[in-house]
Subunit: 384 residues, 4 copies
Amino acid sequence: MGELNIGLIGAGLIGRTHSIAYRMVKGFFTEKTKEVSLKVLAEENEEAARNGAANLGFDEWTADYRELLARKDIRLVIVAVPNYKHKEIVLEAIKHGKHVLCEKPLAMNAPDAKQIFDAAEKAGITHGIGFNYRKAPAVLLIKRWVDNGMFGDIVSYRSSFIQDWGIDENGPLSWRFQKKLAGSGSLGDLGSHAIDMARFLIGEVSEVVGTVSTHVHKRPISTGGLGHKQDTGTAEYGKVDVDDICDVLMEFENGAQGGMVSSRLAPGRKNHFEFEVYGTKAGVFFDWERPNEVLFSSVDMPGDQSGFNRILVGGFQHPYGENLWPIPGMGIGFAEPFAVQLFEMIDAVLNERKASPGFYDGWKVNQVLDAIESSVKKRAWCKV
Amino acid sequence: MGELNIGLIGAGLIGRTHSIAYRMVKGFFTEKTKEVSLKVLAEENEEAARNGAANLGFDEWTADYRELLARKDIRLVIVAVPNYKHKEIVLEAIKHGKHVLCEKPLAMNAPDAKQIFDAAEKAGITHGIGFNYRKAPAVLLIKRWVDNGMFGDIVSYRSSFIQDWGIDENGPLSWRFQKKLAGSGSLGDLGSHAIDMARFLIGEVSEVVGTVSTHVHKRPISTGGLGHKQDTGTAEYGKVDVDDICDVLMEFENGAQGGMVSSRLAPGRKNHFEFEVYGTKAGVFFDWERPNEVLFSSVDMPGDQSGFNRILVGGFQHPYGENLWPIPGMGIGFAEPFAVQLFEMIDAVLNERKASPGFYDGWKVNQVLDAIESSVKKRAWCKV
Amino acid sequence: MGELNIGLIGAGLIGRTHSIAYRMVKGFFTEKTKEVSLKVLAEENEEAARNGAANLGFDEWTADYRELLARKDIRLVIVAVPNYKHKEIVLEAIKHGKHVLCEKPLAMNAPDAKQIFDAAEKAGITHGIGFNYRKAPAVLLIKRWVDNGMFGDIVSYRSSFIQDWGIDENGPLSWRFQKKLAGSGSLGDLGSHAIDMARFLIGEVSEVVGTVSTHVHKRPISTGGLGHKQDTGTAEYGKVDVDDICDVLMEFENGAQGGMVSSRLAPGRKNHFEFEVYGTKAGVFFDWERPNEVLFSSVDMPGDQSGFNRILVGGFQHPYGENLWPIPGMGIGFAEPFAVQLFEMIDAVLNERKASPGFYDGWKVNQVLDAIESSVKKRAWCKV
Amino acid sequence: MGELNIGLIGAGLIGRTHSIAYRMVKGFFTEKTKEVSLKVLAEENEEAARNGAANLGFDEWTADYRELLARKDIRLVIVAVPNYKHKEIVLEAIKHGKHVLCEKPLAMNAPDAKQIFDAAEKAGITHGIGFNYRKAPAVLLIKRWVDNGMFGDIVSYRSSFIQDWGIDENGPLSWRFQKKLAGSGSLGDLGSHAIDMARFLIGEVSEVVGTVSTHVHKRPISTGGLGHKQDTGTAEYGKVDVDDICDVLMEFENGAQGGMVSSRLAPGRKNHFEFEVYGTKAGVFFDWERPNEVLFSSVDMPGDQSGFNRILVGGFQHPYGENLWPIPGMGIGFAEPFAVQLFEMIDAVLNERKASPGFYDGWKVNQVLDAIESSVKKRAWCKV
């Protein structure tokens, strides 16, 4: 236990989600986070910062993130800004000795990520990275079973994170469609979650080969925010120079194999993050569009009952069941994994422990992303 | 906008949920609830009150709800205690001119509910009742379509709210299993939601006939709390005098017909609240175990495409999409409908409007519950 | 084994299905049915009979079913004609000592059904009734588990057989919409399956209460066949005097309770026959729209794995797995249960055994149907 | 119309399925196949042939397929034997001027397949290949929509055909686990279906890269048949030299991209053949484990109704709806696509037309299989 003031940098969709997660942390982990508060918001210009503070409920705000980082009363910083700014901000935060929870992907490439990781380790700060889906109770349950050996030797991992909002050609040219701001397209945005999940559940990826395509080549230049929403009144178009779709094969150090798909051009798919894992003893399927459900099959089931068991998470037998909702199937939403993630980060800071996933994981995911991009350019398998 | 202090009476599972919902209100409806605060907790004895305050994050607490109600600085009271205490507490709250959000069912019977409703109306307070499932975005979307005439004339409503925790014979004899404390068993606990949903979507119920059964006739006497969890160390058993299972036929004033099922003895069902509505132009299916999904079918679909469309709620085209999660399928959990419910209550109080559902709805549901119980006793159809 | 010639009376949708089932019997149960053949078709007038023979592949046909029944070389007769003709034809068949497989419901009312049953018993023929869904491998698996005690004491049965083709007001006034030809509407047509399934899995129904409604009161008079398809060119309308929708509560002799729904006015539902059974040890859900899947939950599942297991039928561990498809999930269609039904009938005839379900079951279902109709008229619970 | 005698070579699982399909052809397409008969069975040794004839219902049988091919009264031959025998038998059949329906994959490699295709074309016979899943009504519906332009430009295809029977290490070393008999493992067995489906729906595959693994390296030497079933009493083990699992990336000539997975080591998956297709206007998902369902989403859906529509196939608005089952959702099983396939083959022979898919398609699939195997060996993308 202890006092802990948090600063948030970025008031976009994900910044807002962190601010909501903070409130749920206070509801779900009340006693342990009594003296924790989310104190200051930084957003890029004065108007945006002022509006952001109003929208997200901050009393204090600044248009200069350096000001936030310079404050002595802030111990933990959440960085929720476009990818290209991560490095500058996180390094500065580390310089001030702040603990940092940074959004994914950690950096625009693996060397930058390594630099950030090294700086963090050297400074001895606690660092975390926003792979929120890891913290879904369903995923934590699967991880528990993986660790308990319930899957035997894992042989396959496949994942698909696909959405459809990119199909609209009049959707604005947000930072997410620009290589210099985002690094990559669906790959870094969605695929990074699928890669992190692979590492979390299976282990290190050894080699990859991928292929990408872009089908919407230009989009109206947006004067608005970072979000998905379309604004109007502009006739000018800018170039999309990132992938809409990415398909990847993966091989793992432990001998498992599989793949990963990311796409913004999948009509009908809204926030479809599914994965399946098969081992010599069991199989599992998860889809975030049904966040309460783990579909599990074990070779130990009676022969006439072999199938996929649909388990509703919740209750004291499941991870965080007591903290979140004590009855299975009450219902996990988008905020809960963010709340678990933030709680674990806070808990790590207060107890001077490492957080997981941390910048090491961010770096490893960036390595895989880089290897995928290399493999696309070279049309060849690339070692991670 | 304006200042509004809230008092919470009851620190059980649902009291806790309201306290979490309060935090989400601050996250989802930030600007409009700036000056709102959840201030005091009342729980029955000192130890429970002190523990509750710690668990739920209250600075102020009392073991005497009358003390809470007597405070001038409290304008809105949330009542989340066992059913048999609703009447006494709510009437007292009304006497003090408090606005009240009371848990369901409103009272132990319809005459009591009417008395509460009349008192509330006479006092001119804003009153709401905790039929939280009404406030799920998926349900609000269905309601919008019902009101828009997309279903044509509604001909059928069927609902099932079934769970399995009662199957454990060693589960403690909580208040939920005692007629004098709960009024009825699965009927009032779960069935009241199915009845409220019927009234919300279809209209007034005119006649009912039901049948009930109890299969676990005695349970260990619990010395613990209100929850579902079993405690040990007692060899004494007490009598269960409420229904485990209730099946009901319903007829509606507008000519629709259908039914309702509630059960605590349905192995495998955790929090399974499903309903389906059919009209001359469309059909819909919803199940809280998949809270993001509306299954919708319209007779206007092309002939070769007729089927149930699985719509993921979220985003600006759906109710509260902008406030909650701006992308479809991000994920609605248990807290969101409670947050919408509390926000609407707060909004009604601040704007001196009626809330919906209010005590009138609570009374009408109690009437249906009473009619069902009469029909069971008389083995006959009963008018509501 | 032995020789067995079969005659089919009725060349409508279901008659055709029996003729297809016959062919599958020869494919699935080849050796045991070597000397079985489907020999003669009877259909009401010459043209219909000739067309039917061509469509269904018969060399021999007659427009007079008496002719078919008089033939010495026919031992088994399948009766697939509108309900009102069952009695006359089946009694005549019995008179000739034929074994009979009759479509459901057996008769227009329970006394008639009893008369048929008594005549059949007295004559010592083998008699079966076309409750085809009983013979789905998934249902036979559930029945095996019920008989093995895997459900403990059964406490609940609920079923819904709903379709949407009645929603079209221009659908013709086929015999299915006329009381004097069909007996009842959705109740006898669809509900009879749900009632038979209840008896098969749970036991005898003791009391019922139901409510019905008709929303499409007149339909164009059809000059065409028996099917669902609309014909045109008629401006005349006739009265619909049967139920479109029927909701029923049921109590069973063994203490279980539940209900049954039938409807032709459920937009989006095509051939939706679902039921669920709950006992003190297990629960199960089945829906014919997913005919390969049994959803099963047992209280013996590990606590953290409690859920509904989706079991794909097929393979040697499941009923008729070797005969039908030897790998789970290969796929059961509409013909397979009809084929199993016909094979069991043939097998019973060849081995001079009773078939199950037989006319006794047909009579019991008619009793329940009559009780439901009485309960609707009297607005009261009725004993079966 | 016309007379047509068919010979079947192979009495294993799939040979039996063809014999059942033949019977359903007679039931579903009665008039058009009046003079068609399945006349002779060839199976490798006398005992197997005699047993096969009994099991499958043939009067005539031979242990020498050459004898069958030499018969003047046989016009169409179905070849359902292990892959390594296809070439010899099919070439011999062509020599005799027989029309041929051959099981997939057509040959052990693309050059052999080309040789077969060329010989067939030169001889002018009608040739078909057993990609039965193409003929599922659901798939034919999707194909119709693809051809109608409902998907716009197709951008993605992904497929997974996975089973779990290989997980049993005591499963016998059938021909399916031996390279010299099967060519490849899960790839040729299951993957060939996924590749054919890709070509059917999307177009030609241009480049591929794959990775494979084998986890069960030896299996008991079986003295029994070809099937999946385990026999006992042998202590000797033989080497498995084919893939258990194969993951592939695919690029298409029309710019679409995606992938394909095949596996026999996916616990819980029985006969799980799923694919999804996304275009600029629509998306679709199909899974053979739910063979009646097409999940379809169009960008033209109203904004608040965007989702996946679950369409139940059947009825006159869907492919072969009138011939198979005239009401949606009645139920398609494993036999129906085989029956459609055989009917189309018969129809093509009788009308002296080409069948589709034919040996050209078989050859193209073998090319993709070869390219995948090359890509695995070379660890590189390979052109098809």
